[in-house]
């Protein structure tokens, strides 16, 4: 019942285990391994950095789990490095897209009251948020 691609996953998992059991980091490939000596592709410090960028936070126990799961997924997706894509152009959209323009005409839009109705906090015709700038 194990889907086909799990076989591709096997070596990645085994590699990770081998690294840990030796207590030494054997870089899987140069792009990655040279950056820092980790047991995992994504270390806890990386989790901190990425979480900050994404405006998320995790407690210490969660961080270890996130690092482990992301590392596994990243090792798996590095499968793409098997392919030479030097001369291949990227596809951002499945259907060729050009700029879609419309005439610059005033049209009805959402009523401000309606637009504000779902806001967690509001004042007058505005969304209200906690302080943004540091006080003096």
């Amino acid at each position: 019942m194990i889907p086909r691609d799990l076989s591709a996953l096997g070596p990645a998992i085994r590699t990770e285990q081998r690294r840990r059991s030796n207590g030494v980091t054997i870089p899987g490939d140069l792009t990655w391994g040279l950056r820092r000596g980790w047991d995992l592709k994504i270390a806890k410090e990386d989790v901190d950095h990425v979480a900050m960028l994404a405006r998320l936070e995790f407690d210490e126990a969660e961080k270890a789990g996130v690092a482990r799961q992301l590392s596994r997924i990243v090792e798996y997706v590095e499968k793409l490095n098997e392919l030479d894509t030097e001369d291949v152009s990227p596809t951002a959209h499945a259907v060729p897209l050009r700029n879609v323009l419309r005439n610059d005409e005033v049209r009805p839009s959402l009523d401000p009251g309606e637009a504000l109705r779902n806001a967690p906090d509001r004042e007058g015709g505005f969304f209200r948020v906690p302080r943004i700038l540091e006080s003096e």
């Binding site: 990243v74 098997e82 392919l83 990227p90 637009a115």
Partner: protein, 532 residues
Amino acid sequence: MELYELAAYELREKIERREVGIEETVRAVLGKIAEVDGAVRAYVTVAREQALAKARAADERLARGEPARLLEGVPIAIKDNMCTRGVETTCASKILKGFVPPYDATVVERLEGAGAIIVGKTNMDEFAMGSSTENSGFFPTRNPWDLGHVPGGSSGGSTAAVAADEAVAALGSDTGGSVRQPAALCGVVGLKPTYGLVSRYGLIAFASSLDQIGPITKDVRDCAMVLGVIAGHDPRDSTSVPRKPCDYLKGLVPDVRGVRIGVPKEYFGEGMAPGVMAATGAALKTLQDMGAILADVSLPHSEYALATYYIVAPAEASSNLARYDGVRYGYRAPGCPDSVTMMTKTRSEGFGSEVKRRIMLGTYTLSAGYYEAYYLKALKVRTLITRDFDRAFEKCDCLVSPTSPTVAFRLGERTDDPLAMYLSDIYTVTANLAGIPGISIPCGFGEDGMPVGLQILGKHYDEATLLRVAYAFEQATDFHRMKPALRATSTSGSASASASAPASASTSTSTSPSASASDCCGRAPAGGERHA
């Protein structure tokens, strides 16, 4: 036969001939929901009063002598990631709990314009991220064929609702297989249209270059009927493709003689469950016996599709989900001293773990220094995958494969391992990456007596061929007429699963699962977003 058991086209005929009233029809479906949804839990919101009011108005309309429209009086369920004006829309996320959209998604407008009655909003994996509906922020949905098994996902609420006769038809959304895979696992028909055929306006965005809305129905005729209503250009979605409308019903001929069907060898490799293999093989034989010409084809980059998908989709998601910041709608963490803290706490408390995992993954692959190694690389491989299809379609009119490598698994079986869960989508993600249409139709039963789906993939905008092949197969078989038992069995083929499945899953048939929609919100999170 009860009204809720009828297909949409049968029901509409009865309504047109005034044999049954629309309110009567809607009450029948609402009654079925009241009877079985405590066990199935397909719905997040049942819009009982709105549905009855609209049904009465529609009855009056017919009484005045106005003609019956294409979907007149057909009770339809909508996945909870499509905006419904005045009806709560949550994406099954705590971060959107309480959000009441001030506008309708285009698909909702079109369905209602064709006379359909929306009966409710269905459960899903939070923000459509998942393959089992277990990632719902509220509660899991059960597979009507065996309540101890998942319905698939992410549109598992919609497919379970149709399978259990809790809706006559439904809409789902498909980013990597989220219509087709749960349709297969629940034994119903599910179509992912060509990218750009159906407007995404009002669909809460997951991965904008992959998302498509599609019909989930009891049979292929209904699928063609619903597709005809929701397809078409919409200026409010800039990726909507301007094309002439197509009459999909006209192409439904039970004849596949001379149709060249490609069988991609990469989709029949190791890892497929024997029961799925057997049912798919038998289906291919049936099509061949009916006069279709089978040809072996190769899609050599298939093995890279899942890795490509899991770079592209989370990258787009991390960007799309940046809008949930506690400012304009949705949940806001209380008592924060400044805005950055408020946003961080709001997102950390409001999103579930799979959503956070994908935001983290997407943010990581898009972050400085990694963009080229991951995201750009994936976009290039996406080109290779698309070329594979272009080449295959030079030799054949459509491709046939299983929809998913296994039948529905047991609840809890794959929740601890994100990658094992992702593997449910290996045969479906390619269509989203290439933008081509795909349909899943019931083609038999496999392990544990659970349904197996046959996937048919076609050329861009060639839904007509998919529907024709699907219709011909359906006319020659009766898998689509089988009805689930709506109970749980304790006999499981997979021994390892029983330990992790919740005890209630294998024993209860009538009691509600323990998780409850109300456990998520003392506060009023909310928020949804339109697409451009």
